[in-house]
């Protein structure tokens, strides 16, 4: 009895400590962003005396954070939508059909190898090609690149979902007069909805957070995304700590809010994205 109660207390203590470890660094950034620069640099107090929104105002008035946010949303939404559409169809084919020259056997595996390839490996040729095509500083270049990387993830995740759906359902629909494609759209897709949700969550998070391609391919507010915008605020010598921490908060906010709304499916989406 006493031992069980002690165990319960120890569990609570450990869990609270772990959560504090996860949250405190973020809370410190939030707190810093609400201080005046004078207070940040001159007082080393843990708790601010007066709160200010000046750091946030400066991000949207003097700097281009409105534009970064718009770019990030457009680029993420477009590339994830394209990847889900193309990748879902491809995954369905790989899960269901025998293809010419045994393609169904190695295409999925090859796509996975491509997915595991670190993006930095192709950053140089991508930059050179984008330069030649005049696509530097465009949202289009980011959309196309992110869509391609996301397709590899979508195919890999969705293929296993489609395999779990019994093929008899489609055949029954086809007996009833559906074509192959309508059977896919009407019967299979709705059944694979949980997979689509998990895949969508995973790709939205990784795409929004992407930094390397955006850093290399964009350098004007017309195309720069949130991570690039936040990173450019970091000077080498003089650091505007207030603006930097506000930029960190604003930079992470959209994806944290998104995660909050999809909470219920978040853990599954992230786990599947990692191991599937």
């Amino acid at each position: 009895m006493t031992r069980a109660r002690f165990g319960g207390l120890a569990w609570v203590a450990a869990t609270v400590a772990a959560m504090a470890f996860a949250v405190i660094p973020l809370a410190w950034m939030l707190l810093t962003s609400l201080k005046t620069n004078r207070e940040i640099t001159q007082d080393t107090s843990l708790v601010p005396e007066a709160l200010t929104s000046a750091n946030y105002v400066s991000l949207f008035s003097g700097r281009e954070f409105g534009a970064y946010l718009t770019n990030s949303i457009i680029v993420t939404a477009a590339s994830v939508a394209i990847a889900l559409a193309l990748g879902t169809m491809a995954a369905y084919v790989l899960a269901r059909f025998r293809l010419w020259a045994g393609m169904h056997r190695y295409v999925g595996f090859s796509l996975l190898m491509v997915r595991l390839l670190p993006p930095i490996v192709i950053i140089i040729p991508i930059f050179l090609v984008a330069q030649q095509l005049g696509l530097l500083n465009t949202r289009l270049s980011l959309i196309v690149i992110y869509a391609a990387f996301n397709v590899t993830i979508v195919v890999w995740m969705m293929e296993s979902f489609f395999r779990e759906i019994p093929v008899d359902l489609e055949e029954a629909a086809m007996v009833d007069g559906d074509t192959r494609f309508t059977a896919f759209r009407r019967i299979v897709l709705p059944l694979a909805a949980p997979g689509l949700v998990a895949t969508g969550i995973f790709t939205v998070i990784t795409t929004y957070n992407e930094f390397l391609f955006a850093l290399v391919l964009t350098s004007t507010p017309g195309a720069e995304t949130m991570p690039v915008g936040a990173a450019t605020l970091i000077g080498r010598i003089n650091v505007d700590w207030g603006a930097m921490s506000a930029a960190g908060v604003i930079g992470a906010l959209p994806i944290v809010v998104f995660s909050f709304f999809v909470q219920k499916h978040l853990v599954r989406g992230l786990t599947m994205g990692a191991v599937k």
């Binding site: 169809m89 670190p118 192709i122 991570p227």
Partner: protein
């Protein structure tokens, strides 16, 4: 007539004619085209430029494997390889141990458990660039959280980013904070899919918590741990965003990870061919690791 849906084996050939026969290729084509054009073609292009000598972004002549030879004679390249290896080994080891602990901690049902898990994975959701900012705000010797805490208890502020070993360990700690949740998630999924029988038997036999862990949990979890460790290690090998924001490789070359050095070789020093060759060697290391991870995943029953 039902067909067994074994993973890895496609279902029966579906009959049909006309559009139905072309359908699989029409549905597969766009995705393949996109990946081939945007990832595979640049990859081959990059392989070609790794054997070239460039001036003003144009290839002037081919130099064969000289760029690769240059890398092995370049002390900065070798040093950054070693720094990267140390970083990966230290960070992934700590993450695995902490992740396993966390997974065991919350592998139970109860009120709030979903909230608790969602809070614990917050660090891996936050934008990596922002994670870099967060840790600048923790380590800064004048305005940082650690400096403020030191001040509050009457100590001198710690100098983390200004010393080589301090910055390196600061980077390791950042990675531990950000990616322990990933190990935790994968291991939690592994724990939740373990069979219950061995544990019930162990309880009947009166085995203690520690014995049960060593005799049953660890062996059952071993394949999952291996997969999680290889996946994380592959990713950690090309860590870029966080170190770009936190230290830019400094002070000196103490946090110069290989991806950052490759990036600088291209964008600051304009050595296109050499940078491509360096990054290709990284790709080969990663693909060997990836092949290893995939072999493990295929063997793992799921």
């Amino acid at each position: 007539m039902a067909t067994a849906m074994t993973p890895g084996a496609p279902a029966r050939t579906l009959r049909g004619s006309g559009v139905d026969r072309a359908l699989p290729y029409l549905m597969l084509g766009p995705a393949l085209f996109l990946v081939l054009g945007v990832i595979v073609y640049p990859l081959i292009d990059g392989l070609r430029s790794s054997t070239g000598f460039f001036r003003f972004g144009r290839q002037v002549r081919s130099v064969g494997l000289d760029n690769y030879r240059q890398a092995f004679a370049d002390p900065v390249f070798l040093e950054s390889l070693i720094t990267t290896a140390r970083f990966v080994v230290l960070a992934v080891t700590i993450e695995t141990l902490l992740g396993l602990g966390l997974a065991l901690l919350v592998a139970r049902e109860g009120r709030y458990i979903r909230r608790i898990r969602a809070t614990l994975i917050l660090p891996m959701i936050v934008t990596p660039v922002v994670v870099g900012i967060v840790f600048r705000l923790i380590y800064a010797s004048d305005v940082g959280l650690l400096a403020s805490i030191a001040h509050a208890v009457g100590l001198d502020p710690p100098q983390i980013l200004s010393s080589g070993s301090g910055a390196f360990w600061g980077l390791v700690f950042l990675d531990v904070w950000e990616w322990t949740p990933l190990l935790f998630l994968i291991l939690l999924a592994g724990i939740q899919s373990m069979p219950v029988e061995p544990f019930e038997a162990a309880r009947v036999d009166g085995a203690g918590t520690w014995r049960t862990f060593v005799d049953h949990t660890l062996p059952l979890l071993r394949p999952t741990i291996l997969v999680a460790v290889s996946l994380r290690a592959i990713d950690a090998l090309t860590t870029f965003d966080q170190v770009y924001v936190l230290t830019r490789g400094g002070p000196g070359t103490s946090t110069q990870l290989i991806s950052l050095y490759g990036y600088q070789t291209f964008f600051q020093f304009q050595q296109v061919g050499y940078a491509a060759a360096m990054l290709f060697m990284v790709a080969i290391i990663v693909l060997i690791g990836a092949g290893f991870a995939l072999a493990l995943m295929r063997r793992q029953p799921r």
